[in-house]
């Protein structure tokens, strides 16, 4: 039975340890921060499993809740705030930093490994007996935390509360101007209409009279040109907005031509026809450009 337990522990270790090392390298080497964070989260889960296998089930749960549950989520929230896709430039700016860093890390791993191999801790030292005596690992840990280490525990709780307050104070940004609410916005629009003849109504929604009502399609004016301001500036800047006018106009023009042809058929009078392009124009001219540029690189 004992041999069985030991081999289970060994299996757990030999499954988890390579995963952890691979995920660790993944974290350090990944180009995008999100990938690094996911690697680290996976590593922490594996670490928790190791805890569970060496008589620390309480820490296993704590590891899952504290690290993967909240710490890594905090990292992801922060990434959302400062930009998910801020890929790290992998080009090194400090001369010789990378080489010396790798040397240091290897030396550290070697030295630490050398020292711990001399520690000779050997086999498990009967912690399960202590756990069982207290009725379980959580109970045993609780007896220590709320007994001998009660003061340290209270101090830690004070630390956590202080940290929460500190985070609020640090990340708080004072408003320099009062926030513009609906009422103020309406007033401003009317004022700007009076002074600069800007439209009072909201900007046209994207996709009106266009081929699709997707956010990337600008609204069309009666003459078929794109209405300015109907596509979000961010989309326009990224080149995702569809601004190829011939393609946008195509449905309206072909409809006009069809109706005009029908009318001419009925009364015999000639009508002005739109010039349709020979081939169907490309819709995603801009996006193609971007891909071309990337391919050229």
């Amino acid at each position: 039975m004992i041999g069985m337990t030991v081999s289970l522990t060994a299996i757990t270790f030999w499954v988890c340890a390579p995963i952890m090392v691979v995920l660790g390298f993944g974290m350090v080497l990944a180009r995008k921060v999100v990938h690094s964070a996911l690697c680290l989260a996976g590593l922490m889960v594996a670490l928790g499993v190791l805890y569970a296998s060496i008589n620390a089930p309480f820490l296993f749960v704590a590891q899952l809740i504290v690290y993967t549950g909240s710490v890594m989520m905090l990292f992801l929230f922060t990434m959302m705030l400062i930009g998910v896709d801020t890929a790290d430039e992998l080009k090194e700016t400090i001369k010789g930093q990378r080489v010396s860093a790798i040397v240091i890390a290897v030396a550290l791993a070697g030295l630490l490994g050398f020292t711990v191999l001399h520690a000779i801790v050997g086999q498990s030292g009967g912690l399960s007996v202590i756990n069982n005596a207290a009725g379980g690992n959580a109970q045993a840990v609780a007896q220590l935390i709320f007994g001998r280490y009660a003061v340290a525990f209270e101090a830690a709780s004070a630390l956590v509360i202080t940290a929460a307050l500190a985070a609020m104070v640090l990340s708080h940004a004072e408003r320099l101007t009062p926030k513009e609410r609906q009422r103020e916005r309406a007033d401003r629009r009317v004022r700007q209409f009076a002074s600069d003849a800007l439209p009072v109504a909201p900007d046209p929604a994207p996709g009106v009279y266009a081929r699709h009502n997707a956010a990337t399609y600008p609204a069309l004016l009666p003459d078929g040109t794109a209405a300015p301001g109907s596509v979000a500036p961010a989309l326009e800047a990224r080149g995702q907005a569809v601004l190829a006018e011939p393609a946008l106009k195509l449905p309206a023009q072909s409809l006009h031509n069809r109706l005009a042809a029908q009318a001419t058929e009925l009364d015999g009078q000639p009508r002005l026809m739109a010039d349709l392009p020979d081939a169907a124009p490309a819709l995603t001219a801009k996006a193609d450009d971007a891909e071309d540029q990337e391919a050229a690189k």
């Binding site: 400090i94 930093q97 550290l108």
Partner: protein, 623 residues
């Protein structure tokens, strides 16, 4: 907490804890305590005084037991070093406790009235309680480490109190000066502790005593380091200059620093460490010489200052010099040092409270040239001040007469030169105190416009009167008792005083010195202030150049640098330039490391960790 000791002595920890508890309440409670806070502060020292009296009664009734050890808990347990939070109540520490709590209580009561119009009175009393509590911890600790805690606490409290009026730049500066000077002394105490631990493995007084009995070079070094510590705390040469600036604090603080708490700590340290000094004559001579030099410097400064508090500060320096001299005479003088310390505590507190009362009357003016003829306006202040003065100059049968004469006698026994210099100090003491009293209380009115002196309120007068009585009687009361009381700690002196009316040739010489000094002072100042611009007095007014020394050093090094520059340019041009270019190149390279990038600093840290690990591994292989 009682450590197995019964009776009042078992409660010794309360002596320390009560003032600190009072300080905590006073500093944390906020404005709610403004109405009654000062009385809580007074209670925080009067209660320990009551306890100390009870302890005295217990120790007098069990005369067989000489010291009690009151352990509370194991404070530091690291490897072979074990330090307990334990108190040692013996005859020496109890004498100090009685002085600190007794005189301190009177000063606290006086401060209630003195600081009545100050908006920060509650805070002031909080600091005072830290001061008293730290001093009690200092004198009660049974090992150097715990003593050091009190030592630092006293330094902190003095910093807070000297700079209490921190809106005055001079006060803030004086506080910093006192703190930094004290740090130099602290270095001595720390190094001495490290040496003791390295050689003995313990810093307990009882363990150190027998272990150093063999003497040796390192014991002498410990003695010299302890002397450095004492010099810092007791304002002895060459670390004396902070004491005069410390007059920037409110007057009760000056009284407390000079009489009961701060400056006496150095004397206590030397007397407590007698076992180190008795086995190393070098360290003992160093203590005696430092004492003599300081007693002359202090007295000299006292003759020239126009600021009444600075004259008294010079006097304190000089009197502590007497105590150090006595402490440096070994068992022959150590008990007399404590005797003089006790009487000095009484009469110096008395003099400072009197000076505070005069300042109170003169709108906080301290310049004696603006005083004069205050005898009629402030009769009680004058009377009490006169008692203190007589005690200080050693008028026959009054405190200083007994305590100082013993020191001078012991000094003559050691070396005629020391004795003669101590006697010279007595002449100067009588001279400057006569000057002070005549300029302040006699002669013409030289008051500033709009000053209307008045007698101090009753709450200030009561402590002054009690201290005046103590100044008159303490010497006669303690003369025959103190030596027997202290001998278990300090050892038996060669000559034990037997009665109040012993006369030797030293007694006669001391009285003659007194007469000469007083007559000289009266002759010079009987017609009011004189033109004080001869060389000796100017030097003294500049505190013997203690501050100018720094300027001189800077100027001298400027000059040296200039001449080196000339030599460099015309004589060793090529070589010197090569050297300094190498220096520039080196520093440019080193500066390159300071690029402000976190990761570079991290790399340095990593290199350091690897180096330490390599050292650990290599040491592990070798050992």
């Amino acid at each position: 907490m009682t450590g197995g000791v019964t009776g009042a002595v078992g409660l010794a920890w309360l002596l320390v804890l009560i003032p600190f508890a009072a300080a905590a309440v006073l500093l944390l409670i906020g404005k709610a305590g403004d109405k009654w806070g000062h009385w809580l502060g007074v209670a925080g020292l009067v209660a320990p005084f009551g306890l100390a009296v009870a302890m005295l009664a217990q120790m007098l009734s069990n005369s067989g037991v000489e010291s009690y050890f009151v352990k509370w808990f194991v404070w530091i347990q690291a490897g072979s070093l074990r330090v307990d939070a334990g108190l040692q109540v013996d005859h020496l520490s109890l004498a100090f406790v009685l002085l600190v709590t007794g005189v301190g209580s009177l000063i606290f009561i006086y401060a209630v009235a003195y600081m009545a119009h100050d908006p920060g009175r509650r805070r002031f009393f909080g600091f005072l309680n830290i001061f008293a509590g730290s001093m009690l911890l200092l004198v009660l600790a049974d090992n150097y480490a715990l003593l050091f805690v009190g030592w630092e606490g006293v330094g902190l409290a003095s910093y807070l109190l000297i700079g209490f009026w921190q809106q005055k730049p001079s006060a803030a500066l004086a506080a910093k000066k006192a703190f930094i000077m004290n740090r130099i002394g602290d270095l001595g105490l720390l190094s001495a502790m490290a040496l003791l631990f390295a050689h003995i493995g313990s810093v307990n007084f009882v363990a150190v005593g027998p272990a150093v009995a063999g003497g040796g070079t390192w014991v002498a070094l410990v003695g010299c380091l302890l002397l450095l510590a004492a010099c810092g705390k007791s304002a002895q040469f060459p670390l004396q200059s902070w004491l005069l600036d410390a007059m920037e604090g409110p007057t009760p603080v000056s009284a407390l620093i000079h009489a009961a708490t701060m400056v006496t700590a150095g004397v206590y340290l030397v007397v407590r460490s007698q076992f180190v000094f008795t086995v190393s004559p070098v360290a003992m001579w160093a203590v005696a010489i430092v004492g003599v030099v300081t007693l002359l410097i202090g007295a000299w400064i006292g003759t020239a200052k126009a600021d009444i508090k600075k004259v008294l500060a010079g006097s304190t320096m000089s009197q502590i010099g007497y105590m150090m001299l006595a402490a440096g005479l070994g068992p022959a003088g150590a008990a007399f040092a404590i005797f003089h310390l006790l009487t000095h505590g009484d009469f110096k507190a008395n003099l400072f409270l009197g000076a505070g009362s005069v300042m109170h009357a003169m709108n906080d003016d301290v310049d004696m040239m603006h005083f004069g003829a205050l005898r009629k306006v402030m009769p009680w202040t004058f009377l009490t001040f006169a008692c203190g003065t007589l005690a200080l100059i050693g008028f026959p049968f009054i405190s200083g007469y007994y305590s100082k004469d013993h020191i001078i006698t012991a000094a003559f026994d050691k070396s005629p030169v020391l004795g003669a210099l101590a006697l010279l100090g007595a002449v100067v003491t009588a001279y400057y105190m006569t000057r002070l009293v005549i300029l302040t209380f006699f002669g013409e009115k030289r008051w500033e416009d709009g000053v209307h002196p008045h007698e101090a309120p009753g709450l200030m007068l009561v402590p002054m009167v009690i201290l005046a009585i103590a100044s008159l009687a303490a010497g006669a009361f303690l003369n025959t008792r103190i030596i027997g009381w202290l001998s278990p700690v300090t050892g038996e002196p060669a000559e034990i005083p037997h009665g109040l009316f012993e006369f030797t040739w030293v007694t006669g010489a001391a009285v003659a010195a007194l007469v000469v000094g007083v007559l000289a002072g009266w002759l010079v100042y009987r017609r009011g202030p004189v033109n004080e611009s001869n060389f000796l007095l100017r030097a003294a007014d500049a505190e013997l150049g203690a501050n100018a020394v720094g300027d001189v050093v800077v100027k001298a090094s400027d000059g040296v640098a200039d001449s080196v520059g000339i030599i460099d340019r015309y004589l060793v041009d090529g070589g010197a330039r090569g050297v300094y270019r190498a220096g520039i190149g080196l520093s440019t390279w080193v500066r390159g490391l300071q690029n402000g990038k976190v990761r570079s600093y991290g790399l340095m840290m990593g290199v350091g960790v690897v180096v330490i690990l390599v050292a650990v591994v290599v040491a592990g292989q070798v050992i």
